[in-house]
C-alpha cells in the first residue's frame, strides 16, 4: 500500500494534475451552486473536456475535483438560500439555513467546509484500506460472478429506492438495460433494435442520456416553477468565517461518527450520499442530549456537521465499488464509469495492478481536493456566492445551451441534440410521475458489461448451468432476489397491519 501511495503522490503532485484538482474544484463549486445543475450534469458537461485531455489520470482527477466542488457548491446554496441543488444536501439546509438567517452564514459555511473536509478525508483513508482488500477478493471472480454481482448492484439500487418505488425503480433499471441493447454490440457485431435508423447504429450516447435524464428535466422544472430559482439573499454579505473552540469540540465526535457511518453507507450500491446525510442527521438528533435536541432544525452546528460529514464520506465510499469492481452505486459514479470507459480505462480489480498510477492518483487527489475546498474555496465563497445573483432569464438559456453543448461535443452530431430534446421530454414526464431516473442511467451504463459477462458465462458453461455450478454466483443471485422481494414484502405487511388496525377502530 505504501508503494501505491508513493505512486499516487508522484502522479498527483505534478503541476498539471494539481491544476486539474484546483480547477475542477473551482468549476464544480461555481456551477454546483447554481440551481438546476447538480454534480451529475456538471460531470456530464465536463466529460468531453476530460476526454480531450487524453491522460486518464489527469482526466479522472479533474472529474473527481468537479464532483467534490459541486457537492460543496450544493451545500453552500443550501445554507445561503435554502435551495439545495442536489438531494444529498437537503439535510444540510435543515440547520444551515436557520444559521444563515440568524446572521451566522460565515460560521455555517465554515462548519460545513470543515465537516466535509473531515468526512472526505476519513472516507479517503477508509477507501485506501477497503479498496485493495476488496480488489484482492474480486480477483477471484469469474465472469459469472461479475454478472451476478452486477445483478446484485442493480437490485440494491431498486431495493433502496423507497417504499412503493421498488417496482418503478426496477422498471427504470430494466428500461436502461433495454436501451443499452440498442445498436451494434461488441459481442455479436450485429445491429439490434435500430429500426433502420443509421444514427442508432452505435447506440444511444451516454452523455446525451445523462443530460436528458438529469440536466434537462431540472432546467425545465426551473422554467415551469420560477420559485425554484429564487436566489434572493444570495448576494448578501458573508462575514466572520471563524468558529469557536467550544463549537469545534462539539462537532468533533459528530464528524468522527458520521464519517465512518457515511462511508459504509456510500459503499452500498444504491444507498449513496442522500440516505447517508438523512440517516446521519437522524442518528445525531436521536443520540444528542435533550437540550441539544431542541436546537436541531433551529441552527444547531451538530445538525449541520452530521449530514455534511456523512454525505462527503459517502461520496468517497461510492468510489469503492467503482474502482474495485467497476460497478457504480450511484448516478454520479455511473457517469464517471462511462468517462473511464471512454478514456480506455477498464475499472475493476485489475485496475490496481495494471494501472496503479490511476487508482492511487485518484485517491490522493481526493485529499488534495478536500484540502483545496477548505483552504482555497472557503475564503473565496463570499465572492463565488455572487454567482447566485445571476438573473433567471440568463441562467436558464445558458443551462440549456451547456446541456446541448455537452451532448454535441461528445458525439459531434446534430441528430444527438434532437435525441436529447426527445429523451429530455420523456424524462421530465417520468419525473412528474415520480419515477426515479438514476436507475435508468446506471442500467444503461452497466447494460453492455452485464450482457458481455452473461454471454461469456453462457458460452463457458454451454448454457444457463453456470448458475448452479458456481455456488458464489448462486449465492449472489439469491441475495439479489431477496433484495427485490424483501422491501415489497415488508411494505405489504405494513399495509396489511395498518388496514387491520383501521378495521379494529
Amino acid at each position: 500500500m505504501l508503494e501505491g501511495i508513493m505512486i499516487g503522490l508522484s502522479t498527483a503532485f505534478t503541476l498539471t494534475n494539481l491544476m486539474m484538482v484546483i480547477g475542477g474544484c473551482l468549476i464544480g463549486t461555481f456551477i454546483g451552486m447554481l440551481p438546476g445543475l447538480g454534480p451529475m450534469s456538471i460531470i456530464s458537461i465536463m466529460i468531453p473536456v476530460a476526454i480531450t485531455i487524453g491522460d486518464p489520470s489527469a482526466a479522472l482527477i479533474l472529474l473527481a475535483g468537479v464532483y467534490y466542488g459541486a457537492i460543496f457548491g450544493g451545500s453552500t446554496s443550501s445554507i445561503l438560500i435554502n435551495a439545495p441543488g442536489v438531494a444529498s444536501t437537503v439535510a444540510t439546509s435543515f440547520d444551515g439555513y436557520p444559521l444563515a438567517r440568524a446572521g451566522k452564514a460565515g460560521k455555517a459555511l465554515t462548519v460545513a467546509a470543515i465537516s466535509s473536509f473531515c468526512g472526505g478525508s476519513i472516507g479517503a483513508i477508509l477507501l485506501m484500506i477497503f479498496a485493495p482488500a476488496l480488489a484482492t477478493v474480486a480477483l477471484l471472480f469469474h465472469s459469472s460472478e461479475y454478472f451476478a454481482l452486477m445483478v446484485v448492484g442493480l437490485s440494491a439500487i431498486a431495493a433502496f429506492a423507497g417504499t412503493g418505488q421498488v417496482a418503478k425503480a426496477m422498471l427504470m433499471t430494466v428500461l436502461g438495460l433495454i436501451m443499452a441493447t440498442v445498436g451494434e454490440g461488441a459481442l455479436f457485431n450485429l445491429p439490434r433494435f435500430t429500426m433502420g435508423i443509421m444514427d442508432l447504429q452505435s447506440g444511444f450516447g451516454f452523455i446525451t442520456l445523462a443530460m436528458a435524464m438529469f440536466a434537462l428535466p431540472e432546467a425545465l422544472y426551473l422554467v415551469l416553477d420560477p420559485s425554484r430559482s429564487n436566489t434572493e439573499g444570495g448576494g448578501g454579505e458573508i462575514k466572520d468565517l471563524r468558529i469557536t473552540k467550544e463549537e469545534a469540540k462539539e462537532i468533533a465526535p459528530v464528524i468522527g461518527r458520521q464519517s465512518v457511518q457515511g462511508f459504509l453507507i456510500g459503499v452500498l450500491p444504491g444507498a449513496g450520499a442522500t440516505i447517508a446525510s438523512f440517516l446521519g442527521y437522524a442518528v445525531e438528533r436521536n443520540i444528542a442530549s435533550k437540550e441539544d435536541q431542541e436546537k436541531f432544525g433551529k441552527g444547531s452546528v451538530k445538525g449541520l456537521a452530521a449530514p455534511e460529514a456523512a454525505n462527503n464520506a459517502a461520496c468517497t465510499g461510492s468510489f469503492v465499488p467503482l474502482l474495485t469492481l467497476g460497478i457504480p452505486g450511484s448516478g454520479t459514479t455511473a457517469i464517471l464509469l462511462g468517462a473511464l470507459i471512454a478514456l480506455n480505462v477498464n475499472p475493476g480489480p485489475r485496475l490496481m495492478i495494471d494501472q496503479p498510477e490511476i487508482f492511487w492518483a485518484v485517491i490522493i487527489s481526493m485529499y488534495i481536493g478536500n484540502l483545496v475546498l477548505l483552504v482555497l474555496n472557503l475564503p473565496l465563497i463570499p465572492y463565488i456566492a455572487k454567482v447566485l445573483a445571476v438573473p433567471r432569464n440568463y441562467l436558464i438559456p445558458f443551462i440549456l445551451f451547456f446541456t446541448m453543448m455537452g451532448a454535441y461535443i461528445g458525439q459531434n452530431n446534430a441528430t444527438e441534440l434532437l435525441l436529447l430534446v426527445g429523451l429530455g421530454i420523456c424524462a421530465t414526464v417520468l419525473r412528474f410521475a415520480d419515477y426515479p431516473l438514476a436507475p435508468l442511467l446506471i442500467g444503461f451504463i452497466l447494460g453492455s458489461m452485464l450482457e458481455d459477462n452473461f454471454a461469456r458465462s453462457m458460452q463457458l458453461y454451454d448454457g444457463i448451468g453456470f448458475i448452479m455450478e458456481r455456488p458464489m454466483t448462486l449465492g449472489l443471485l439469491g441475495i439479489a432476489v431477496i433484495l427485490i422481494i424483501l422491501p415489497s414484502y415488508r411494505a405489504r405487511r405494513a399495509r396489511m397491519r395498518a388496514r387491520g388496525i383501521a378495521d379494529g377502530d
Binding site: 480531450t52 417496482a167 433494435f193 420560477p226 438559456p397 441534440l417 436529447l420 454471454a455 458460452q459
Partner: protein
C-alpha cells in the same frame, strides 16, 4: 388512472414491441454457425423483455400515489397549466430549432439567436445588455471548444466557408 400507471402502460407496449423483435425477428438473419452457440443476440433481450413486462404489469395493476402525496418542490402535473408551460414548450421548440440550424447556419449565429430569443421568451427586455452578453459568451465558448479543446465547430453559415 394516474400518470404513473399510464406511463407503465406505454412502457409495457414498447416492451412488447421490443419483445416481439427479440423473440421473432432478430434471429432471422443469424448465420448457421452462430446458431450453435449457447447465447444468441436475442437471449439477453428476451430476459429483459420478461423482466420489463413483469415490473410494468405490477405498476399498471398496483395502487398509484395520488397528487396529494406530492413532495416539497415537486410539480403537480394535474395543474400543469398553472405553471409556465408556454415558456417551457417554447424553449423546447427553440432547442429543436437550434439542433436543426446548428450545421447550416453555423455556431455563432445560431447560438447568439438561441440564447437571446430564449432570454426574451423568459421575459428579458433589456436588449442593450442582452445582445453583447450573448455575443461575448458565444465567442468565449467557441474559442474554448475550437481552439482549446480542438473540437471543430463551424462558426459561420455553410456558404461562407468552413471558418476553421
Amino acid at each position: 388512472m394516474a400518470l404513473d400507471r399510464w406511463i407503465a402502460l406505454v412502457i409495457l407496449m414498447i416492451c412488447m414491441a421490443y419483445g416481439y423483435a427479440a423473440f421473432f425477428t432478430i434471429d432471422a438473419g443469424l448465420p448457421p454457425f452462430m446458431q450453435r452457440n449457447a447465447i444468441w443476440p436475442s437471449t439477453f433481450p428476451k430476459v429483459l423483455t420478461v423482466l420489463a413486462i413483469i415490473s410494468s404489469v405490477i405498476i399498471v395493476l398496483g395502487k398509484s400515489k395520488g397528487s396529494e402525496e406530492l413532495k416539497d418542490g415537486d410539480i403537480d402535473y394535474t395543474r400543469l397549466t398553472d405553471y409556465k408551460l408556454g415558456q417551457a414548450l417554447s424553449l423546447l421548440a427553440m432547442m429543436a430549432i437550434y439542433a436543426l440550424m446548428l450545421r447550416p447556419v453555423g455556431f455563432v449565429i445560431s447560438t447568439v439567436a438561441f440564447l437571446s430569443i430564449s432570454a426574451v421568451i423568459l421575459g428579458e427586455r433589456k436588449y442593450v445588455y442582452l445582445l453583447p452578453i450573448t455575443v461575448l459568451a458565444t465567442g468565449i465558448v467557441w474559442y474554448l471548444v475550437q481552439v482549446v479543446l480542438g473540437i471543430y465547430l463551424r462558426p459561420l453559415p455553410y456558404f461562407l466557408g468552413t471558418g476553421g
